[in-house]
Amino acid sequence: MIKNYLKIAFRNIILQKGYSLINITGLAIGITACVLILQYVSFELSYENFQVNKDRIYRVQQDRYDNGKLSTQWAAGAFAVGNSFKDAIPEIEDYVKLVQQGQVTTEVDNEPTKIEKVFFASSAFFNIFTYPLIAGEKNNALKEPFTIAVSETTAKRIFGTTNIVGKRMDLDRKGNFTITAVYKDAPVNTQLKPDILISYDTYVKMNGPDNNPETAWSWDGCLTYLLLRKDADIKGVEKKFIPIVEKATGAEYKKLNAAVTYLLQPLTDIHLYSNYMMEPAPNGDGKTIYLLLGIAFFIVIIAWVNYINLATARAITRAKEVGVRKAIGSQRRQLVIQFLSESALLNGFALLLALILVVIAIPGFNAISGHQLSFSLLSNFNFWISLAVLFVAGVFLSGLYPAFVLSRFNPVEVLKGNTGGIKQHALLRKSLVVFQFTASLFLLIGTVIVYQQIQYMRRQSLGINVDQTLVVNRPGVGIDSTFLQKMTAFKQELQQQNTIGNITVSTSIPGQAVDWNAGGIKLVGADESTQKQYRVIGMDYDFIKTYGLKLIAGRAFSKDFGSDKNSVIFNRKAAEQLGFNKPEEAIGKKIDFWGEQYIIEGVAENFHQQSLREAYEPLILRLIPDVSGYLSVKVNPAQTKQTIAAVKAGWNKFFPGNTFDYFFLDDHFNNQYKADQRFGQVFGLFTGLAILVACLGLFGLASFTTLQRKKEIGIRKVLGAPVLSILNLLYREFALLLLIAFAIAVPVAAFSTSQWLQGYAFRMQMHWVYFVLPFIAIIAIALITVSFQTIKAAVANPVKSLRTE
């Protein structure tokens, strides 16, 4: 029976070529978009899924409160957290401490080679996390001080083999480390992709007996992961943290009118829902993921709506067939099955087309999304599951309603040719068209606003000059008492080149978060409860000049003042945080900063250290003449190549053993917008697709209604109606639907875009143009779509159309 139905369905699809093409194309585009986005989303959701213990691993995250208000949130916490909690709380089976070390340099054949991701890790690392060992013993690895574990790729890169357990390795010329294990590389979807792990005991040793991290509660920066017992109650465990933290730090923090709380984060939530200070890797954005998912479903739903609309609009043309079938013995159920088979066949064709489209679209999708989908997708079980689900949902969601409508016809009526009494479902169809246009308009407004915001962020003056700046990564090797001397000589040598402008060394550069956070800072003599946290950039004398910071009070650092060693410059925000709303008032004031006093010599205007997504932070610029950090060099754009060569030559001369990593600061700064730009592109692309699919449907609907009104148009023309009035007649209906869509879309879009903009500290100005322009665009697109049919009908020779009736 099904075979018979499919045969009929197939013939109908062939017979109604245009109509089928519209449906199949629309559905295929919808399915393709959905599948691609689903893959992307499921990748983002799959972070840490490979960890065998993923359901039991939690990160201990720290919230810092000042004056009763949440001030900062940290991925890392105090060093004593892991062992103290484990000792006191039976639900904790084990813990691992990780300390980010950044990059180190080693030498291969006398060539300095950089190793990027280095962590200190305590010995439970391999027991808690799933990084299978290729060589070495799980229980011996990372046990002793000065032992390390190396990733497979790193091992091969440095040694050419993974058979290296027992060998020694030099890091930053700071001593020999014994290799105790080689582990398999981490998969892509994890936050923790260490190239080298150094035993945590090394860290303890390096800090000396007077600075035992195991008891350090006021000393931050340690990532702590707990392995909980299976039945552990998370809230209960968090509650048990409170007295421990209170006992260890309560009195201390109370004096500062501050507090810290420690909370548990499920390992699998970290990638998408955490974005705290000191994250070991950049995070994803859960909101974006679900937004994209929403858009993808919008597109398929629009395609399904096309099917419903066209099928119900064309119902009359199938009425006779339904009547006959009922008259020769078909039951309603059998007719429903027949029409569902048609829907299934159509969806099946769409699925095939979608498969082809997916394969074609993968490279393009990767290019704009920055994602790495590969053709191996086709061997992915989930991919086929999602296809199957889309297929079944499509068949039933789009097919069921028309099937019921069609199968409901009364055979006596329709066989009499009496189709006038058949419900036209015009209201439903109009509502669905309104839905499609509301969705299209909403997405288009969203696209415009996303682009406007990105434009706004990129055009806004940063208050700091990042152009034509070459930055060399900080050296790791050879930081010793001769560093200042070497650096000074290096700078002098460079400055002699006339292609090179100002040069400065600083602990932070624009385009990334300031990683030095200092608490406990207050005015000398002020109460301890006024202590606050500030971000700090250590710098030499030339930073302010090099980066063109604007001083609004006081002066810049200068060698002309012998006492400048204990000088700081505040930014406006920091001065305000200290209690000075007029910057001049801050000048000459002294602050307590970790046991020493510093004089505020100047106040700088706020500048955008990071992208405009981030708010201004209270920032202290602290003079450290022999600071080690990033080297920023202003270059003449016409002679970039020579300049790089010159800087490299000097670098190798003064800092042998270090790799020469450089980048241009404007690129580095703009990289912050990459995620936003990608989001904008993906959003724009899928908006375009949604509009295309909606237009396909509109086109089909317009051809059908115009066809239906052919006779009416003919009569009107015979009666002398001008073409224009005929067009007016045909457009009026669509115009009204568009207006309704506009009325719905604007408030929804205004609300959701303003929600989205909340994620940005600096926001573009909303303007009515961003709403009206998309509306006009949609009107134009809809008009063109509808016009293919209507103009043809309006100018057609009325005699002809009347004769064919």
């Binding site: 029976m1 018979n4 045969k7 009929i8 013939r11 109908n12 017979l15 006779k320 067939e321 009547g323 006959v324 079938r325 009922k326 008259a327 020769i328 013995g329 078909s330 039951q331 059998q334 055979p411 006596v412 066989l415 009499k416 040719g417």
Partner: protein, 222 residues
């Protein structure tokens, strides 16, 4: 076989009842060949549709074989109908998208017969109506008379006991009409009960009995 008692059917137009059938009483025995006649709009088609269970009625009793149709549920009625009744229309009402073969086969599909059985039955029917050569053509490729033959073949394929025909020759020329009537006669001789609606005295003469309708009422003079 058929027993209609006090059948009323009406529609409500502007608050008042317009009767389509008014107090129809009719008994039809198995093997009869009945012609319904009457002016246009007198309710002939309506009556035929009621007998064929395509349409319902508002009052009265209808017994078909052993069953009381007026008490049956929709589904049971469809079952009964599917099994015992075949319909022939003035406008043929073939399914345009199906070939001759498929049109004839369709009722069997609704009876859930196996492909092999269907094949045999359709082949027999094609043979009998001499349209084997046309089996792969679509309705649009046939003349009116040929289409009506297919329509009758389709009505007969499920071996109904009762054949209902609403002006089966209305769209045909007289020669084609005659052929169809001869066919009916022959079918009737084979035991199929037939009720046809016709405007032609000549066609009515093929039957054993004539029922005259006027304004939804049976005329007394039979």
């Amino acid at each position: 076989m058929i027993n209609l008692k006090h059948i009323f059917k009406w529609v409500t137009v502007g608050g008042s009842r317009v009767f389509l059938l008014k107090d129809i009483n009719l008994e039809v025995k198995e093997g009869e060949f009945i012609s319904i006649m009457g002016p246009s709009g007198s309710g002939k088609s309506t009556l035929l549709n009621v007998i064929g269970m395509l349409d319902g009625f508002d009052e009265g009793e209808y017994h078909f074989l052993q069953e009381s149709v007026h008490t049956l549920k929709e589904k049971q009625r469809a079952q009964l109908y599917k099994q015992y009744i075949g319909f022939v229309f003035q406008a043929y009402h073939l399914i345009d998208e199906l070939t001759v073969y498929e049109n004839i086969e369709t009722p069997l599909i609704y009876q859930n017969l196996k492909t092999s059985e269907r094949k045999a039955m359709v082949a027999d029917m094609l043979d009998r109506f001499n349209i084997v050569g046309k089996k792969d053509l679509f309705p649009a490729q046939l003349s009116g008379g040929q289409q009506q033959l297919v329509g009758i073949a389709r009505a007969l394929i499920a071996k109904p006991k009762l054949l209902l025909a609403d002006e089966p020759t209305g769209n045909l020329n007289s020669k084609q009409g005659e052929e169809i009537m001869e066919l009916f006669k022959q079918l009737n001789n084979e035991g199929v009960t037939i009720i046809q609606v016709t405007h032609s005295e000549k066609n009515a003469a093929y039957g054993s009995r004539v029922i005259n309708l006027l304004d939804g009422r049976k005329e007394i003079n039979q």
